[in-house]
Symmetry: C3
Subunit: 180 residues, 3 copies
């Protein structure tokens, strides 16, 4: 339970940004300032590079966090773990999308299901996602399909979020803020 005077997070916060923009660190700081956190990881340590990234994130968070890994059934995991006394940090949405597309799942249907799940959660969630559409159009069709699906997913989640923060060089800019 947050201490008296600690900042209260809205139901849904989206932290959006590029690679190495400080998204995860900012999201972790938001959750830590508000009280207890559960880390819902969509990453799987399938190679050494990925394992090193996961380890670095885990070391930064320290032992105060509960960690749950769920590469695919993320909407279910959110519903199952949501708790008014603890904030879920979902890191990250674009990796989940990548897992879905690799598994042959329908990205649009999953996006709809995820946004529907966000509406009825029992506790706050901070969602981290990558912006990937600001470079040149990729010359392979699979990468273009990923950029399209990620853009639709980010738009849908931003539409459902109470607060959207864009990160660049570790600096947050608020793109959306719904007053309670």
């Amino acid at each position: 339970m947050p201490a008296t005077g600690s900042p209260v997070l809205p139901p849904v916060t989206l932290v959006l940004g590029g690679a190495r923009s400080g998204k995860s660190a900012h999201a972790e700081a938001l959750v830590t300032a508000a009280g207890a956190g559960l880390y819902l990881a969509t990453a799987e340590a399938r190679d050494a590079e990925m394992a090193a990234r996961i380890r670095a994130h885990r070391e930064r968070r320290g032992d105060a966090w509960t960690t749950v890994e769920e590469p695919l059934e993320v909407a279910d995991a959110l519903a199952r773990h949501a708790d008014p006394a603890r904030t879920i940090l979902l890191d990250c949405l674009t990796l989940w999308l990548s897992n879905l597309m690799e598994a042959g799942r329908d990205a649009d249907a999953e996006t709809d299901g995820f946004v529907a799940a966000l509406a009825g959660l029992a506790g706050p969630v901070v969602v981290v996602s990558n912006e990937v559409g600001l470079g040149v159009v990729p010359d392979n069709a699979a990468a273009r399909a990923f950029v399209d699906a990620a853009g639709r997913l980010n738009q849908a989640v931003a539409g459902a979020a109470d607060r959207v923060v864009f990160m660049a060089a570790g600096l947050p800019t608020v793109l959306k803020e719904v007053r309670a």
Copy 2:
């Protein structure tokens, strides 16, 4: 003619953003709120993927819009169709640039001509363009040349525009606003 009380668009609006950032939907909403619209498309349906994108955009706009297709002579088309009682939505600038470069035209000269045309239009225009320079530098020279030309074009049009809006995850941020 816009109904009494509907928002009045400035002479030139630029809606800039990444792939799937909600640029076209935002631009369409601006035009619709202001009154009647003419859709000036630079896209040509040369393959199935492109045809599907064009169809999706057309279905979203509905039947109230007039559509004109012009892949190359865009400055002329703007001048010909400009009308104080109807807003032109030009979608999009970077695809026009891509058409120009494929046709061997001089991108800098075309940029200058386009900006000159914007200054004297008889009615308002909303221009949609892609930001493509925020990823890694492409490793082929043609893609680098495109990024350079698109950046120069976006800078020139932003300089001439009365309002510039940056889209991310469907959310607009105003980068420039010239008060009348």
Copy 3:
């Protein structure tokens, strides 16, 4: 020494943006408005494309600037040339990083040394850097390592800067401003 009434730059300004976003022109305008400038270039004219870019930048600046080229020992060069009566324009940070990585240097250690050097400079500096992390994740490991290192470097310099400006289509947005 700046004329009476000319704007005073803070000790460290970071101008961040994509390719062809108007970063260098904006940084040059800041320096020129504040008084005399020294251009600290990290670029080397190793091919015709690069030589043309360097020439174009040099022509835009004109003869009033002193130019120093330093591809690797940038922290030393900053310390050596810092002067309260003249602003250094360092253009650009990501090219320095690229030079470092090509030379097999440790990017994290160099980042730490650079940020340490920024803290004690005898005069103001305006640092130009590229944001490269907002496109699709590159499919080769070297490019991913560059994106990671550039993101860490930009975060570290932004953390140490008094003012951070993000450029898009030639338009500045202030991301950070520390009041004196």
